[in-house]
Point group: C2
């Protein structure tokens, strides 16, 4: 390794998290700043090697859970952002220099990185049996038939969320009735397609007629509705599921869950993956139909994808095959340029994105 | 079978359900009436046999779920009482006459009967794989070392509720931390003792200091607290469970569940058996900490005992052994006389009872 101090400083555009917020996030909660960085891993003092990796960020992922990191809470499962530092999150990057034995210059990786052009990632964790998912970095076996950006979605954390929640949590059976909320998002679109591959009947709820169309004509959902145009969700679900719902894949929370419960069939399952409708509220909406959990004997389980990352190799092989065979389709909403990342993230909470929201920092 | 019309009519005191109610039940929601009954099963017209059983009621069970039957709701899982007819519920009875092949005069039975001195039970269901639990009638193999009244509690539906909820739903492991609400009731006292037999650490919440004492000194709970004397339940649970809770056996609902969630350990389990704090409310209290279900990966499952009645023979054998070996103790709160049944039922909702609430109609 060369002496890092001899390596030239280059400029490094960053998206800085300003401070903890309440309510809906705004673009102005983040600010662009240009710093400098040397594109080499610094040598450890008193040691000849370092475990760090220096990467060029290519694709950044906008995920609903990131709103939770904008709040100062003492939750070890969702560590808060640091005011004054770059936003961090899942992304795809290219290794420019590595002090880590598992990575070499030129490798493509997915995992946790910063919202900036270049990131120095200290001590990334490469083991899939992890207890600190926010340090994960996985080498990508890149092939030209799969876009690299897919590792922020269908082949990354959202893909694993859909996979674990449907196959591991929901105990699906052929012919069952499946309801997915936020169904055109990164997770929802996959859950619906997994359900169809399993031989289930699947209906999704989304926030626009364009997305209804997408579900029915692109992802192959049996039916879909725009929740903004339905005033009585209990009645709407009754219409779409006259026989009731066996599996609810919960991405939104709040009143939708209360509307689902009266429509659940006995021994139904609810996989709770996210509650996007609740993340901007100071006090979450109450859920009132808990008693139906008992009389209908419902199993409701919360889960997070990293608990299932040990299944990632199996998942990846399956998904690549599905993608190349055209059995699963995938819609991304890409925004060009790091400077547009704040708007992209904020847009998740108004449903502006159609499909998985990705920010392109660089393509190579 | 004799000609029924030749059999003398005897008087039959009954507790009649007046009409559907809102709010807390009152004694005056039920009224005593004396009718008449012939103590013989009537012959079926045009047929020589009948499937009915004529019983003398001995012990009646007061159970929290009965409040739900006082509301006119279209829920097939909890059928409403019929205004003008006797209250119905679990009880222990003696067969006086039988047209059913499974029962003979002199048999003791437990299952669904009426709140009256004598009941004619039409077409009781004797199969434990049932879909209509409200017609269940099971023959008791009576031995003098086990009180017959136990079949309304520890050896009946509440016992099966504790058994199924703890062993089948909660996946308990030795050394885990277990919290039980309504812990001195018919179900709670057994869950706590099952947990101790499994080698768990168990704490219960109850509504009086007398019950705290009962939990600690009679049932062997590791600790117990009076929820009425604690103003911050989140803090109280943190004190009793500094390491967190692995299993919550939910009998009360409402704010207690919201206080439990922040104290749950990752991958904890919640067995939802009942929500007694909510049954008298027109709109149940909201449950707000749903998101913690996700970040802590909690499994919450509602269940009802009848789904597990196929395990009853195994359960019964185990429990009888535990009782005769003194490994499990059991506290009943018995009220003498059918006329006192309304007060006993109403008292469940103010926590007046200490232990399982039983009404003695007759002892033989």
């Amino acid at each position: 390794m060369e002496n890092v101090s001899l390596v030239e400083l280059v400029s490094n555009k960053q998206i800085i998290f300003r401070d903890y917020i309440t309510g809906f996030p705004k673009e102005t909660d983040m600010v662009s700043r240009t710093g400098t960085i040397r594109l080499k891993v610094p040598a450890k003092e008193g040691s000849s090697s370092s475990n760090s990796v220096l990467v060029k960020n290519l694709y950044l992922s906008c995920d609903p859970y990131m709103r939770l990191r904008m709040k100062k809470v003492d939750d070890p499962y969702v560590p808060a952002f640091t005011p004054g530092s770059p936003i961090s999150g899942y992304g795809v990057a290219k290794v420019l220099d590595s002090g880590h034995p598992d990575f070499n210059e030129g490798d493509y990786v997915w995992g946790f990185t910063g919202w900036e052009q270049y990131s120095l990632i200290d001590n990334p964790q490469t083991c899939l049996m992890m207890n600190k998912p926010e340090t994960l970095l996985i080498k990508i076996k890149h092939t030209t038939d799969i876009p690299l950006s897919y590792y922020t979605g269908i082949l990354g954390m959202p893909g694993m969320t859909a996979y674990a929640g449907f196959y591991e949590i929901s105990s699906p059976k052929k012919g069952e009735y499946v309801f997915v909320s936020a169904a055109s998002g990164a997770v929802g679109q996959l859950v619906g397609q997994f359900a169809k591959l399993m031989g289930c009947y699947v209906v999704g709820s989304v926030g626009s007629n364009q997305k209804v169309d997408l579900l029915k004509n692109k992802f192959g959902f049996d039916d879909a509705f725009n929740y903004k145009e339905e005033h009585d969700w209990v009645a709407a679900l009754k219409r779409y599921f006259p026989e009731g719902i066996d599996i609810y894949f919960e991405n939104v929370g709040g009143k939708m869950l209360d509307a689902v419960l009266p429509n659940m069939r006995p021994h139904g399952r609810i996989a709770a993956s996210g509650l996007i409708s609740q993340y901007n509220l100071e006090k979450p909406e109450g859920f009132h139909n808990l008693f139906l959990l008992i009389t209908k004997r419902i199993q409701m389980e919360g889960f997070v994808a990293p608990d299932y990352y040990h299944l990632y190799p199996k998942f990846l092989e399956m998904m690549k095959q599905y993608i190349t065979d055209g059995k699963i389709v995938y819609v991304e909403d890409t925004v060009e340029g790091l400077e547009n990342a704040p708007a992209a993230l904020v847009g998740l909470f108004t449903g502006r994105n159609v499909g998985k929201q990705v920010v392109v920092v660089a393509r190579e």
